[in-house]
């Protein structure tokens, strides 16, 4: 028998209100809201329906010392979905929430504005088959959250361009922050959660989404510490997932998490994604800075299981990647790495200190990875295509920049490395902007465009070119003319590279055999182990090219 109930009242400590729907197929939906403290109030319009499924909705404003607004649904197959928001300390929540359960699954979502000393909104979907996806956004020490988010479990298709309904949690309003309308198409058999959130926090703030199932796990998060704000669209799914729109053509049988985010802060910031599969393969990607700065246009994702990327690449293992621009006054770095269960490692990163920016596309994968028409790796691979620019810094008493000593301080650089499981075969490639000084004035600058690096460990095959076992990599760098050879520029003085031969380095190690470059002209390679191109074979450790004058 289908039943609906309304409940509510006041206690000595606060108020509560809710509604419950139970249909005769075992589908349940509910809403509940509460607030505590003197003067607390719960103003709500709540409805529930049962019959051919169960649904419940509420439009609620809860004010008090603390407040909670939540909704959820579950079906007879064990699919559950919930969404909730809470705030503590001068709490105020305005929320529109809904939850629905039927034979194919359960879903819940909310559009909420939260204010409080601490506040959080989260959504969670768990399928009866054990897939789980969640999304959450949180502030501490005061702030405001605007969020649209939800979670679903079962079998669903989302289309944010379609008519809004209780299954639509992502928004085309992304252009309000990012200037680009976002249209998402998501097909899920399992669980999925997502959010579009803005966080204005004076000291803290975090948005994250995670998914797991069958031993696969993926998570993505954006975070600030100190003053800052986050605008993020995130999605995480576990099971059989297909995504179009956020990162085109992503498919995964496992777990996947991704975000499109912008983040700025006066003192901190971090955007990261990570995935692991049931065999212990792990891939992660991260961007961070400290001090003033900004990350924008950040597409980032991680996946574990069997992954397909836009028909161009496939990975059976774990993969992570990002495309972003990062700017800060005092530092910043981006990195990606992957490890398989046998300890094969590949990583790539770029870093600068002082004022500058990084524009990068990078990624890493562990397992069996294939790139259509290019080749494959069974092990670990990482690579990047980046531009790194350290803005001119004032030289004072032998210092480059504030607190950076040119003699011992790390300088901006991009690097990529790979090693076999026992570390027997290793390659490392690096482009470093080092020992810069001016010929005429107290200013330096280190721009570089098109740093392309890639390294892999394990069995590597580049179609029609070579096969390798061990570790291999290459890098190519184009330095920008800007700031390096502009003697007539009145704004940007000319520069002299004191030790240009160390701008690029490549090294390889095969056991106790070691080789490293002494020359660079914009392109380098490194091999450890064995490589054959059909005509020639390299065995041991080798790098190139070598100085033709030697």
């Amino acid at each position: 028998m289908a039943e609906t109930y309304d409940f509510g009242g006041a206690t000595g400590n606060g108020e509560y209100s809710g509604t419950l729907a139970v249909d005769n197929s075992g589908n349940v939906a509910f809403t509940i809201a509460a607030a505590t403290g003197p003067g607390s109030s719960v103003q709500t319009t709540q409805n529930s329906n049962a019959g051919g499924g169960a649904s419940a909705t509420q439009e609620t404003r809860a004010v008090g010392d603390s407040a909670f607004v939540g909704s959820g649904a579950a079906n007879a197959h064990g699919d559950t979905a919930s969404t909730a928001a809470h705030a503590f300390g001068n709490a105020e929540i305005e929320s529109v929430q809904g939850a629905i359960a039927g034979g194919s699954g359960a879903a819940a979502g909310q559009m909420t504005e939260l204010t409080g000393q601490t506040a959080a909104a989260g959504s969670l979907g768990i399928s009866g088959s054990g897939y789980e996806a969640s999304t959450t956004t949180r502030i501490t020490d005061g702030g405001v959250i605007d969020t649209m988010q939800g979670a679903a479990a079962g079998s669903f298709s989302y289309n944010t361009a379609g008519q809004a309904n209780s299954n639509t949690f992502f928004t085309v309003a992304a252009d309000q922050i990012f200037g680009t309308p976002l249209v998402l198409y998501v097909d899920v058999t399992g669980a999925v959660a997502g959010q579009y959130s803005e966080i204005y926090a004076e000291n803290g703030g975090q948005a994250s989404s995670s998914a797991n199932g069958n031993g696969n796990f993926a998570t993505t998060q954006a975070s600030v510490t100190g003053e800052g704000s986050i605008g993020t669209i995130q999605i995480a799914g576990a099971g059989q997932i297909g995504v179009e729109g956020l990162l085109d053509g992503i498919s995964a049988d496992g777990a996947v998490a991704g975000q499109f985010s912008g983040l700025d802060s006066d003192n901190g910031g971090s955007v990261s994604s990570r995935a692991t599969n049931s065999h212990g393969y792990e891939a992660g990607t991260a961007a961070r800075y400290y001090g003033e700065g900004e990350i924008w246009g950040c597409y980032q994702g991680a996946a574990a299981g069997q992954i397909g990327i836009a028909g161009m690449a496939s990975v059976d293992g774990a993969a992570a990647g990002q495309a972003l621009q990062l700017e800060s006054d005092t530092g910043g770095s981006v990195s990606s790495s992957a490890t398989n269960s046998h300890g094969y490692v590949a990583g790539t990163g770029a870093r600068y200190y002082g004022t500058g920016f990084i524009d990068t596309v990078q990624g890493a994968a562990a397992g069996q990875a294939g790139i259509t028409g290019l080749g494959s790796v069974d092990g670990a691979i990482a690579g990047q295509d980046s531009a790194v620019w350290q803005a001119p810094l004032t030289v004072s008493s032998g210092q480059i920049g504030i607190g950076i000593n040119p003699g011992d301080a790390p300088q901006s650089y991009a690097y990529t490395h790979a090693s076999s499981g026992n570390g027997y075969d290793q390659v490392e490639l690096e482009t470093r902007f080092n020992e810069m000084s001016t010929s005429t004035g107290p200013v330096v600058g280190v721009p570089a465009n098109n740093i392309v690096q890639c390294a892999g460990a394990g069995r590597i095959s580049v179609t029609g070119i070579f096969d390798a076992q061990g570790a291999a990599g290459f890098q190519g760098t184009e330095f920008s003319g800007f700031g390096l050879d502009a003697p007539d520029d009145q704004v940007k003085p000319s520069y002299q590279i004191v030790t240009p031969s160390y701008r690029m380095t490549a090294s390889a190690a095969h056991g106790s055999t070691h080789d490293e470059t002494d020359y660079s002209e914009g392109y380098q390679w490194a091999v450890a182990g064995m490589l054959t191109d059909g005509d020639d074979t390299i065995q041991g450790a080798a790098v190139g090219p070598h100085d033709p004058s030697v």
Binding site: N13, F30, A35, A74, T80, T83, A84, G122, A193
Partner: protein
Amino acid sequence: MKKSIIIITGLLALAFMVTGFACADPSIPATPETQGITTTTSAQVSGWFDEEQDMSWQISTSPLGSSLTYPNPSIPVGPYVIYVPGNIVLEEVFGEGNTTNGGVLYSSVYSEQTSATNGDIEYSKQFSAETGNQLAGGSNIEAERLIAFSTDTSGRLVSSEYIMVDGVGQFSLTDNVLLCPFASDASDFVPQFCNMAEMGSDLDISTGSVSTAASDRFIAASGDYPVDVDYRIRLTGIGDEPAEGSVSAFMDALSQEGKIDVFVRVPFDNPEDGTLYLLRTGLASELRYEELSSVHGQVAVFDKDMHYESGMRR
């Protein structure tokens, strides 16, 4: 008089274990302040002897006299109970007068009335009551008696002894009640329960030697140990002569075990929001047990040992 020898040796172990639902009886934690009562009585008398002892004890997780509360925070809705453990806001809204676990009330009674006239009586008794938490093997009430009585006249020894434990309680989360990390594998909840066990004996003899031991345990820091009630009585003659008179021992138990239908379990993502359970409670089992053993005449041996235990882990 025709000499008749009746020998009854009884050994009864009644252990309430029912499959398909979880037996409750989770015990109750001790109050912050505890008491201990110990008495020792020894008498060797020709003539008249009288001993009367009564103890009644109630202990509750809520103020005595109030109704048993659902665990906080719970909201009865129609035939259901919405229970949201871990939700900080709802816990505060419903916090006044409610406790984290469902309300539990235990009662226990021990009494003895012994009177001997016109005879030789040897009586010794050790009694202790301890209101603190007990582990397995411990007792909250424990009484042991040794009595020998003989008479050349019309003297009689009349004695009765009674021990009872009654426990009632609302449901609670298993993980909140039992420390054993595997206990919740069987059931997320300790269901509602209403269990009572009574044991005792009556004795009216002109000669004989009797020993009794009564004990119970229902105060414990966690529900990992079952509630116990034990009673044993042994009546024999003195020397080569059988005991003469009548003796009976009884045990009554009523166990009503609830069930919890977890209609749905919907966790929220943030830990501060807890997990919502939609529950339907009801009576799943009702067990009645009555036993009375009586002998009359010349009794060589009357021995009866009764044991009751009830709990989630046994």
